[in-house]
Symmetry: C2
Subunit: 201 residues, 2 copies
Protein backbone atom coordinates (compact mmCIF):
# COMPACT_ATOMS: atom_id res chain seq x y z
CA UNK A 1 0.00 0.00 0.00
CA UNK A 2 1.34 3.42 -0.96
CA UNK A 3 1.46 5.86 1.93
CA UNK A 4 1.53 9.49 0.81
CA UNK A 5 2.55 12.33 3.10
CA UNK A 6 1.39 15.66 1.61
CA UNK A 7 3.76 18.51 2.41
CA UNK A 8 3.49 22.23 1.67
CA UNK A 9 7.11 22.90 0.73
CA UNK A 10 6.71 26.66 0.23
CA UNK A 11 5.72 28.81 3.18
CA UNK A 12 4.96 25.90 5.49
CA UNK A 13 3.14 26.36 8.79
CA UNK A 14 2.02 29.95 8.21
CA UNK A 15 -0.27 29.78 11.23
CA UNK A 16 2.79 29.43 13.42
CA UNK A 17 4.11 32.79 12.24
CA UNK A 18 3.48 34.34 15.66
CA UNK A 19 5.59 31.71 17.39
CA UNK A 20 8.52 31.26 14.98
CA UNK A 21 10.76 33.16 12.62
CA UNK A 22 10.26 32.19 8.94
CA UNK A 23 13.42 30.06 8.80
CA UNK A 24 12.44 28.39 12.06
CA UNK A 25 9.06 27.51 10.61
CA UNK A 26 10.73 25.78 7.66
CA UNK A 27 13.09 23.84 9.93
CA UNK A 28 10.28 22.88 12.28
CA UNK A 29 7.96 21.81 9.44
CA UNK A 30 10.71 19.58 8.07
CA UNK A 31 11.29 18.03 11.49
CA UNK A 32 7.58 17.21 11.72
CA UNK A 33 7.62 15.74 8.21
CA UNK A 34 10.58 13.51 9.01
CA UNK A 35 9.00 12.39 12.30
CA UNK A 36 5.84 11.34 10.45
CA UNK A 37 7.83 9.54 7.75
CA UNK A 38 9.95 7.77 10.38
CA UNK A 39 6.82 6.63 12.22
CA UNK A 40 5.30 5.27 8.98
CA UNK A 41 8.59 3.58 8.18
CA UNK A 42 8.57 1.92 11.61
CA UNK A 43 5.29 0.20 10.69
CA UNK A 44 7.19 -1.51 7.84
CA UNK A 45 5.73 0.72 5.13
CA UNK A 46 7.50 3.14 2.83
CA UNK A 47 6.23 6.73 2.92
CA UNK A 48 6.27 8.91 -0.20
CA UNK A 49 6.36 12.65 0.36
CA UNK A 50 3.85 14.40 -1.89
CA UNK A 51 5.28 17.91 -1.97
CA UNK A 52 4.30 21.14 -3.67
CA UNK A 53 7.96 21.75 -4.46
CA UNK A 54 11.25 19.91 -4.13
CA UNK A 55 12.24 19.09 -0.58
CA UNK A 56 15.46 17.76 0.89
CA UNK A 57 14.40 14.48 2.45
CA UNK A 58 15.75 10.94 2.85
CA UNK A 59 12.40 9.49 1.69
CA UNK A 60 11.05 9.34 -1.88
CA UNK A 61 9.50 12.66 -2.95
CA UNK A 62 7.05 13.35 -5.76
CA UNK A 63 6.34 16.96 -6.64
CA UNK A 64 2.82 18.08 -7.52
CA UNK A 65 2.08 21.77 -7.18
CA UNK A 66 -1.68 21.45 -7.48
CA UNK A 67 -3.99 22.00 -4.53
CA UNK A 68 -3.95 19.24 -1.93
CA UNK A 69 -7.32 17.79 -2.96
CA UNK A 70 -6.32 17.53 -6.62
CA UNK A 71 -2.86 16.14 -5.90
CA UNK A 72 -4.30 13.44 -3.64
CA UNK A 73 -7.21 12.55 -5.93
CA UNK A 74 -4.69 11.95 -8.73
CA UNK A 75 -3.14 9.19 -6.59
CA UNK A 76 -6.10 7.34 -5.06
CA UNK A 77 -5.30 3.96 -6.62
CA UNK A 78 -6.60 1.78 -3.84
CA UNK A 79 -5.32 0.68 -1.47
CA UNK A 80 -3.63 3.90 -0.54
CA UNK A 81 -3.05 5.88 2.64
CA UNK A 82 -2.66 9.62 3.11
CA UNK A 83 -1.08 10.86 6.32
CA UNK A 84 -0.63 14.57 6.98
CA UNK A 85 2.93 15.83 7.47
CA UNK A 86 2.22 17.75 10.67
CA UNK A 87 1.00 14.92 12.88
CA UNK A 88 3.70 15.51 15.45
CA UNK A 89 2.35 12.91 17.90
CA UNK A 90 1.90 10.13 15.36
CA UNK A 91 3.82 7.01 16.30
CA UNK A 92 4.01 3.53 14.84
CA UNK A 93 1.39 2.09 17.21
CA UNK A 94 -1.21 4.71 16.29
CA UNK A 95 -0.44 4.43 12.57
CA UNK A 96 -0.64 0.65 12.70
CA UNK A 97 -4.16 0.98 14.11
CA UNK A 98 -5.02 3.19 11.13
CA UNK A 99 -3.44 0.97 8.49
CA UNK A 100 -4.87 -2.23 9.95
CA UNK A 101 -8.43 -0.99 10.54
CA UNK A 102 -11.02 -2.70 8.36
CA UNK A 103 -13.05 -0.72 5.87
CA UNK A 104 -13.23 0.68 2.36
CA UNK A 105 -12.55 4.09 3.82
CA UNK A 106 -10.76 4.56 7.15
CA UNK A 107 -10.51 8.03 8.68
CA UNK A 108 -8.51 9.39 11.60
CA UNK A 109 -10.28 12.67 12.37
CA UNK A 110 -8.32 15.76 13.29
CA UNK A 111 -9.20 18.51 15.71
CA UNK A 112 -11.46 21.09 14.13
CA UNK A 113 -12.98 18.79 11.53
CA UNK A 114 -9.92 17.85 9.53
CA UNK A 115 -9.04 14.48 8.04
CA UNK A 116 -5.61 13.87 9.46
CA UNK A 117 -5.09 10.41 8.05
CA UNK A 118 -6.99 8.25 5.63
CA UNK A 119 -6.90 4.79 4.10
CA UNK A 120 -8.82 4.22 0.88
CA UNK A 121 -9.64 0.75 -0.42
CA UNK A 122 -12.54 1.66 -2.70
CA UNK A 123 -12.00 2.72 -6.34
CA UNK A 124 -14.76 5.36 -6.33
CA UNK A 125 -13.76 7.36 -3.27
CA UNK A 126 -12.49 10.91 -3.77
CA UNK A 127 -11.15 13.38 -1.23
CA UNK A 128 -12.22 16.96 -0.59
CA UNK A 129 -9.98 18.59 1.98
CA UNK A 130 -11.85 21.90 2.21
CA UNK A 131 -13.67 22.88 5.39
CA UNK A 132 -14.91 20.20 7.77
CA UNK A 133 -13.47 17.47 5.59
CA UNK A 134 -14.15 14.69 8.07
CA UNK A 135 -17.86 15.27 7.61
CA UNK A 136 -17.54 15.52 3.85
CA UNK A 137 -15.47 12.36 3.65
CA UNK A 138 -18.04 10.41 5.64
CA UNK A 139 -20.71 11.73 3.29
CA UNK A 140 -18.67 10.83 0.20
CA UNK A 141 -18.17 7.33 1.60
CA UNK A 142 -21.91 6.93 2.10
CA UNK A 143 -22.48 8.18 -1.44
CA UNK A 144 -20.48 5.25 -2.82
CA UNK A 145 -22.36 2.76 -0.65
CA UNK A 146 -19.97 2.32 2.22
CA UNK A 147 -19.52 3.61 5.76
CA UNK A 148 -16.22 5.16 6.81
CA UNK A 149 -14.44 3.46 9.71
CA UNK A 150 -13.32 6.02 12.27
CA UNK A 151 -10.02 5.53 14.11
CA UNK A 152 -10.20 6.99 17.61
CA UNK A 153 -6.68 8.29 18.20
CA UNK A 154 -5.48 11.35 20.09
CA UNK A 155 -2.05 10.96 18.50
CA UNK A 156 -3.54 11.15 15.02
CA UNK A 157 -6.08 13.86 15.92
CA UNK A 158 -3.53 16.51 16.86
CA UNK A 159 -1.94 18.34 13.95
CA UNK A 160 0.68 20.89 14.87
CA UNK A 161 -0.83 23.88 13.21
CA UNK A 162 -1.22 26.70 15.69
CA UNK A 163 0.80 27.90 18.68
CA UNK A 164 -1.59 26.20 21.10
CA UNK A 165 -0.73 22.84 19.52
CA UNK A 166 2.91 23.12 20.52
CA UNK A 167 2.14 22.17 24.11
CA UNK A 168 0.85 18.79 22.90
CA UNK A 169 4.15 18.19 21.15
CA UNK A 170 6.13 19.13 24.25
CA UNK A 171 4.00 16.83 26.42
CA UNK A 172 3.59 13.84 24.12
CA UNK A 173 6.02 14.12 21.20
CA UNK A 174 8.64 11.43 20.73
CA UNK A 175 10.75 12.70 17.84
CA UNK A 176 12.96 15.44 16.47
CA UNK A 177 10.21 18.11 16.29
CA UNK A 178 9.80 17.95 20.05
CA UNK A 179 13.55 17.99 20.49
CA UNK A 180 13.85 21.00 18.19
CA UNK A 181 11.17 22.85 20.18
CA UNK A 182 12.97 22.19 23.45
CA UNK A 183 16.32 23.22 21.97
CA UNK A 184 14.66 26.41 20.73
CA UNK A 185 13.72 27.25 24.31
CA UNK A 186 10.06 26.30 24.40
CA UNK A 187 8.69 24.80 27.59
CA UNK A 188 5.35 23.97 29.14
CA UNK A 189 3.94 26.75 31.30
CA UNK A 190 1.01 26.63 33.63
CA UNK A 191 -1.83 28.98 32.68
CA UNK A 192 -5.39 29.48 33.73
CA UNK A 193 -7.10 26.18 32.90
CA UNK A 194 -5.12 24.25 30.31
CA UNK A 195 -1.38 24.68 30.24
CA UNK A 196 0.32 26.67 27.51
CA UNK A 197 3.85 27.18 26.30
CA UNK A 198 6.51 29.79 26.82
CA UNK A 199 9.84 30.54 25.23
CA UNK A 200 13.11 31.66 26.77
CA UNK A 201 13.92 35.25 25.91
CA UNK B 1 -14.71 -1.16 40.04
CA UNK B 2 -16.09 2.19 41.20
CA UNK B 3 -16.25 4.79 38.43
CA UNK B 4 -16.37 8.35 39.73
CA UNK B 5 -17.43 11.28 37.58
CA UNK B 6 -16.33 14.55 39.23
CA UNK B 7 -18.74 17.40 38.58
CA UNK B 8 -18.53 21.08 39.51
CA UNK B 9 -22.15 21.65 40.51
CA UNK B 10 -21.82 25.37 41.20
CA UNK B 11 -20.84 27.68 38.37
CA UNK B 12 -20.05 24.91 35.92
CA UNK B 13 -18.25 25.57 32.62
CA UNK B 14 -17.17 29.13 33.39
CA UNK B 15 -14.89 29.16 30.38
CA UNK B 16 -17.94 28.88 28.16
CA UNK B 17 -19.31 32.17 29.52
CA UNK B 18 -18.68 33.89 26.18
CA UNK B 19 -20.77 31.33 24.33
CA UNK B 20 -23.69 30.73 26.70
CA UNK B 21 -25.94 32.48 29.17
CA UNK B 22 -25.45 31.30 32.79
CA UNK B 23 -28.58 29.12 32.81
CA UNK B 24 -27.57 27.64 29.47
CA UNK B 25 -24.18 26.73 30.89
CA UNK B 26 -25.81 24.82 33.72
CA UNK B 27 -28.14 22.97 31.36
CA UNK B 28 -25.33 22.18 28.97
CA UNK B 29 -22.98 20.99 31.75
CA UNK B 30 -25.69 18.64 33.02
CA UNK B 31 -26.27 17.27 29.51
CA UNK B 32 -22.53 16.53 29.23
CA UNK B 33 -22.56 14.86 32.66
CA UNK B 34 -25.48 12.64 31.76
CA UNK B 35 -23.90 11.71 28.42
CA UNK B 36 -20.72 10.62 30.20
CA UNK B 37 -22.68 8.65 32.79
CA UNK B 38 -24.77 6.99 30.08
CA UNK B 39 -21.62 5.99 28.19
CA UNK B 40 -20.09 4.49 31.35
CA UNK B 41 -23.35 2.71 32.06
CA UNK B 42 -23.29 1.24 28.54
CA UNK B 43 -20.00 -0.49 29.38
CA UNK B 44 -21.88 -2.36 32.12
CA UNK B 45 -20.43 -0.26 34.95
CA UNK B 46 -22.25 2.02 37.38
CA UNK B 47 -21.05 5.63 37.48
CA UNK B 48 -21.10 7.63 40.70
CA UNK B 49 -21.25 11.41 40.34
CA UNK B 50 -18.76 13.07 42.67
CA UNK B 51 -20.25 16.55 42.91
CA UNK B 52 -19.31 19.71 44.80
CA UNK B 53 -22.98 20.22 45.62
CA UNK B 54 -26.24 18.35 45.19
CA UNK B 55 -27.22 17.69 41.59
CA UNK B 56 -30.43 16.39 40.06
CA UNK B 57 -29.32 13.23 38.35
CA UNK B 58 -30.60 9.68 37.76
CA UNK B 59 -27.25 8.22 38.85
CA UNK B 60 -25.87 7.94 42.40
CA UNK B 61 -24.40 11.22 43.63
CA UNK B 62 -21.95 11.79 46.47
CA UNK B 63 -21.30 15.36 47.53
CA UNK B 64 -17.80 16.48 48.48
CA UNK B 65 -17.10 20.18 48.33
CA UNK B 66 -13.34 19.90 48.61
CA UNK B 67 -11.03 20.65 45.72
CA UNK B 68 -11.03 18.04 42.97
CA UNK B 69 -7.65 16.59 43.92
CA UNK B 70 -8.64 16.11 47.57
CA UNK B 71 -12.08 14.72 46.77
CA UNK B 72 -10.59 12.16 44.38
CA UNK B 73 -7.68 11.20 46.63
CA UNK B 74 -10.18 10.40 49.39
CA UNK B 75 -11.69 7.75 47.10
CA UNK B 76 -8.71 6.01 45.50
CA UNK B 77 -9.45 2.55 46.88
CA UNK B 78 -8.12 0.53 44.00
CA UNK B 79 -9.36 -0.46 41.58
CA UNK B 80 -11.12 2.77 40.78
CA UNK B 81 -11.74 4.90 37.71
CA UNK B 82 -12.18 8.65 37.43
CA UNK B 83 -13.79 10.04 34.29
CA UNK B 84 -14.30 13.77 33.83
CA UNK B 85 -17.87 14.99 33.39
CA UNK B 86 -17.20 17.08 30.30
CA UNK B 87 -15.92 14.39 27.94
CA UNK B 88 -18.64 15.08 25.40
CA UNK B 89 -17.26 12.63 22.83
CA UNK B 90 -16.76 9.72 25.22
CA UNK B 91 -18.62 6.64 24.13
CA UNK B 92 -18.76 3.07 25.41
CA UNK B 93 -16.12 1.81 22.97
CA UNK B 94 -13.57 4.42 24.02
CA UNK B 95 -14.33 3.93 27.72
CA UNK B 96 -14.07 0.16 27.39
CA UNK B 97 -10.55 0.62 25.99
CA UNK B 98 -9.73 2.69 29.09
CA UNK B 99 -11.27 0.31 31.62
CA UNK B 100 -9.79 -2.79 29.98
CA UNK B 101 -6.25 -1.46 29.48
CA UNK B 102 -3.63 -3.24 31.56
CA UNK B 103 -1.64 -1.35 34.13
CA UNK B 104 -1.47 -0.15 37.72
CA UNK B 105 -2.21 3.33 36.43
CA UNK B 106 -4.00 3.94 33.15
CA UNK B 107 -4.32 7.47 31.80
CA UNK B 108 -6.33 8.95 28.95
CA UNK B 109 -4.61 12.30 28.35
CA UNK B 110 -6.63 15.41 27.59
CA UNK B 111 -5.79 18.30 25.32
CA UNK B 112 -3.58 20.83 27.04
CA UNK B 113 -2.03 18.42 29.50
CA UNK B 114 -5.08 17.32 31.45
CA UNK B 115 -5.88 13.86 32.77
CA UNK B 116 -9.31 13.28 31.31
CA UNK B 117 -9.77 9.74 32.54
CA UNK B 118 -7.84 7.49 34.83
CA UNK B 119 -7.87 3.96 36.20
CA UNK B 120 -5.93 3.25 39.38
CA UNK B 121 -5.05 -0.27 40.51
CA UNK B 122 -2.17 0.58 42.84
CA UNK B 123 -2.74 1.45 46.53
CA UNK B 124 -0.02 4.11 46.66
CA UNK B 125 -1.05 6.25 43.71
CA UNK B 126 -2.36 9.76 44.38
CA UNK B 127 -3.75 12.32 41.96
CA UNK B 128 -2.74 15.95 41.51
CA UNK B 129 -5.00 17.68 39.04
CA UNK B 130 -3.20 21.01 38.99
CA UNK B 131 -1.40 22.20 35.86
CA UNK B 132 -0.10 19.67 33.34
CA UNK B 133 -1.49 16.80 35.37
CA UNK B 134 -0.77 14.17 32.75
CA UNK B 135 2.93 14.77 33.23
CA UNK B 136 2.61 14.83 37.02
CA UNK B 137 0.57 11.63 37.05
CA UNK B 138 3.18 9.82 34.95
CA UNK B 139 5.83 11.06 37.37
CA UNK B 140 3.81 9.97 40.42
CA UNK B 141 3.35 6.53 38.84
CA UNK B 142 7.11 6.22 38.32
CA UNK B 143 7.65 7.30 41.91
CA UNK B 144 5.70 4.28 43.14
CA UNK B 145 7.61 1.95 40.84
CA UNK B 146 5.23 1.59 37.95
CA UNK B 147 4.77 3.06 34.49
CA UNK B 148 1.45 4.60 33.52
CA UNK B 149 -0.30 3.02 30.54
CA UNK B 150 -1.46 5.69 28.10
CA UNK B 151 -4.76 5.25 26.24
CA UNK B 152 -4.62 6.89 22.82
CA UNK B 153 -8.16 8.17 22.29
CA UNK B 154 -9.41 11.31 20.56
CA UNK B 155 -12.82 10.79 22.14
CA UNK B 156 -11.34 10.81 25.62
CA UNK B 157 -8.84 13.60 24.87
CA UNK B 158 -11.43 16.26 24.06
CA UNK B 159 -13.04 17.90 27.06
CA UNK B 160 -15.70 20.46 26.27
CA UNK B 161 -14.24 23.38 28.10
CA UNK B 162 -13.89 26.33 25.77
CA UNK B 163 -15.92 27.66 22.85
CA UNK B 164 -13.51 26.11 20.34
CA UNK B 165 -14.31 22.66 21.73
CA UNK B 166 -17.97 22.94 20.76
CA UNK B 167 -17.18 22.19 17.12
CA UNK B 168 -15.85 18.77 18.15
CA UNK B 169 -19.13 18.02 19.87
CA UNK B 170 -21.14 19.10 16.81
CA UNK B 171 -18.98 16.97 14.53
CA UNK B 172 -18.50 13.85 16.67
CA UNK B 173 -20.96 13.95 19.59
CA UNK B 174 -23.53 11.21 19.93
CA UNK B 175 -25.67 12.30 22.87
CA UNK B 176 -27.90 14.93 24.40
CA UNK B 177 -25.21 17.61 24.70
CA UNK B 178 -24.77 17.65 20.95
CA UNK B 179 -28.54 17.67 20.51
CA UNK B 180 -28.88 20.55 22.95
CA UNK B 181 -26.23 22.53 21.07
CA UNK B 182 -28.01 22.01 17.77
CA UNK B 183 -31.38 22.91 19.27
CA UNK B 184 -29.76 26.07 20.71
CA UNK B 185 -28.84 27.11 17.17
CA UNK B 186 -25.17 26.22 17.02
CA UNK B 187 -23.77 24.91 13.76
CA UNK B 188 -20.41 24.19 12.19
CA UNK B 189 -19.06 27.09 10.18
CA UNK B 190 -16.13 27.12 7.84
CA UNK B 191 -13.33 29.47 8.87
CA UNK B 192 -9.78 30.07 7.82
CA UNK B 193 -8.02 26.79 8.53
CA UNK B 194 -9.95 24.70 11.01
CA UNK B 195 -13.71 25.07 11.11
CA UNK B 196 -15.45 26.87 13.95
CA UNK B 197 -18.97 27.26 15.18
CA UNK B 198 -21.67 29.88 14.78
CA UNK B 199 -25.01 30.48 16.42
CA UNK B 200 -28.28 31.63 14.94
CA UNK B 201 -29.12 35.17 15.97
Amino acid sequence: MNVYVPFAAREPKTRLADAFEPDERATFARALLLDVCDAISRTGREPTVLATDSVDCPYPVVVDDRLLTDAVNARLDSPVAVVMADLGLANAVALERLFEADGDVVIAPGLGGGTNALVVRHPDFEVDYHGASVRDHRRIARGIGTEATMVDSFRLAVDIDEPRDLVELLLHGEGRAREWLEDAGFAVQRRDGRVGIGRDA
